[in-house]
Symmetry: C2
């Protein structure tokens, strides 16, 4: 399959839409709409007792307090995935971590949306140091969820990236 | 939080974008872009030996053969979630199922995209009967993945909804 044209048809503050034409090996062509996205990171931050999550309002899906892992978009020019994860952990839950490990990468809506999530495990947690701006306006509440009720977090969670992270953590703790 | 205005700024064949203004309890207001979506279903279809998955090209993320669960959008007027799941299972892998169970609902990108996935388990599988149109143009390949290597499917899968479904199946098989 080959992309033979791409046209930006909407360019907003966050969302952009392209119309792209693809030619398949059999000669057929198809036009697809693609929602642009810079990618994002999500973080499984835990110690021996808790996994540190957040609750926040998610207006697009009408949820006043969705339970999620700390996460954020790769929206700073030239910032690496890992640096983005470190920044988001500081901004969202005011923590830093001594050890970082990439767990996996995945797409969230591959038929429509470019977004790819890079999922990290962060351990050796401590209060964040250095320059960071807390997300004051983002109305984020920290939730320390006990690891001995990880199944309860999985039962309650309604966010795909966070579910993947919690299931990964469950596998890590079993291993 | 209260939605005080909503304006459609882009309306395409699949993608639509709205600009919505929200007022928070503290009186502050924020404008958000929301990508519209009718919702979707995904299906964990399995028997004693295999989970039935698909490989397909996913142009928006430049993947020529992404491994996923059978899934599809709620794009038919008045169709229930379960009827959509039954139709997608027939169209994508030409199977019907005697038993259906809803496993969970979740969002895939709740900061931007309305999409909510309803995940089903389908068992008692048999060749599909009745009226259905195979997705001839969608270039979908059936993959029967052995349950005794479910961990291999989880290791290879790079699609969030499918990962959630495979982890759920792993939990079901352990129980």
């Amino acid at each position: 399959v080959e992309r033979i044209s791409s046209e930006t048809v909407y360019e907003g503050q966050i969302a952009s839409v392209r119309r792209e034409t693809f030619r398949y090996d059999d000669g057929s062509e198809e036009v697809r709409e693609v929602v642009g996205h810079p990618g994002a990171v999500a973080i499984v931050a835990h110690d021996e007792r808790f996994v540190y999550m957040v609750r926040q309002p998610r207006e697009p899906v009408n949820e006043p307090d969705l339970l999620e892992l700390p996460a954020g978009k790769l929206d700073k020019e030239g910032e690496s995935h890992l640096d983005c994860a470190k920044r988001e952990l500081a901004e969202e839950i005011a923590m830093g971590a001594a050890e970082w490990r990439e767990l996996r990468r995945f797409y969230v809506s591959p038929g429509l949306l470019e977004e790819e999530i890079t999922l990290y495990e962060a351990t050796g947690l401590a209060p964040a140091e250095g320059d960071f701006e807390p997300d004051a306006d983002e109305q984020i509440e920290l939730v320390a969820w006990p690891l001995d009720d990880l199944a309860g977090a999985i039962a309650r969670c309604r966010d795909a990236k966070s579910l993947v992270g919690l299931f990964e953590l469950q596998a890590l703790l079993r291993a």
